[in-house]
Symmetry: C2
Subunit: 198 residues, 2 copies
Amino acid sequence: MQIEFWFEFASTYSYPAAMRIEALAAERGATVAWRPFLLGPIFQQQGWNNSPFNIYPVKGNYMWRDLERICECMNIPLRRPSVFPRNSLLAARVAGANTEAAWLPAFVRATYQANFADDADISSPAVLERCLSTLGLDAAAILAGAQTPAAKDKLKALTAEAMERGIFGAPSIVVGRELFWGNDRLEDAFDWAARPGS
Amino acid sequence: MQIEFWFEFASTYSYPAAMRIEALAAERGATVAWRPFLLGPIFQQQGWNNSPFNIYPVKGNYMWRDLERICECMNIPLRRPSVFPRNSLLAARVAGANTEAAWLPAFVRATYQANFADDADISSPAVLERCLSTLGLDAAAILAGAQTPAAKDKLKALTAEAMERGIFGAPSIVVGRELFWGNDRLEDAFDWAARPGS
């Protein structure tokens, strides 16, 4: 039983989802296919050149408070990033080029923590290097690999695939042909995956 | 322990929320203050002259499928309204003028069922008359009352209050100074209301 977890490193609600999805999957006897993508091109198609949370500040205010409550309830730290949304291109290329690596989930979590707990600039190679090094990885080689044409194409392909699947926000979970949107739909997605015939 | 339930008769996710909130409140030993309002003026402030689910069809497609799953899970009927969003002005005036009536919750549910289960035009006085009559009420008198200046002003005041509280969508639940948005936040809102000091 496998679910696809589509996430964007700049996305606020992807943070709690990324932090809890592996434990939830283990509890449900499921596996997670990690699918990084970029929301920017998808938002642009809807006529937005910024996060809708910035374009619609009333909704943005709600989201920050809602996220605060969620993180408090999960007991994970939250510091509102001084820049939002942060440029997630390099981080997404690292993840896209290494979706099958055993260390990928830990890197994803470290990067979300850098962005949303430490207020670190995840577009900076130095910050990502730290996220990789603390996992005992060869950060320089991985970052170099993320800048190759193959890695760039891989992320483009993932973002195109997200669009094809009707994804319009993050996090999104795909189970077969069913799409679930939001940190608050993780349990529903696993329930769906557990249905007979899914 | 009381929570305010802010709803809009045209709003899709308000339908399952309205159908289940009383039972949930009873289970939690809480009471519900019913707060009808209009989303139209709030959407207009965000530059929208239509439902965002129509303006952004990818998101709209997802919403209809998501709603289908939710209604299936709750075992309540859903027929996608042939007109969306339906004009909810008259229904909201009826509700706004009768927020304290004992029959209000039943009228709210009947009206949501008309819109989302029977595909009936809830802007039609005949449809609302039916919703009221089946509850044994004097439909003609209630509908006449909903057209008075006082009833019109009441709904305007409720919509203005919704804006002041930072409401941008429906359903929304207000617990003291905390705002919760969405059918999927009902439980969280009741949890918050049950916190010591709330």
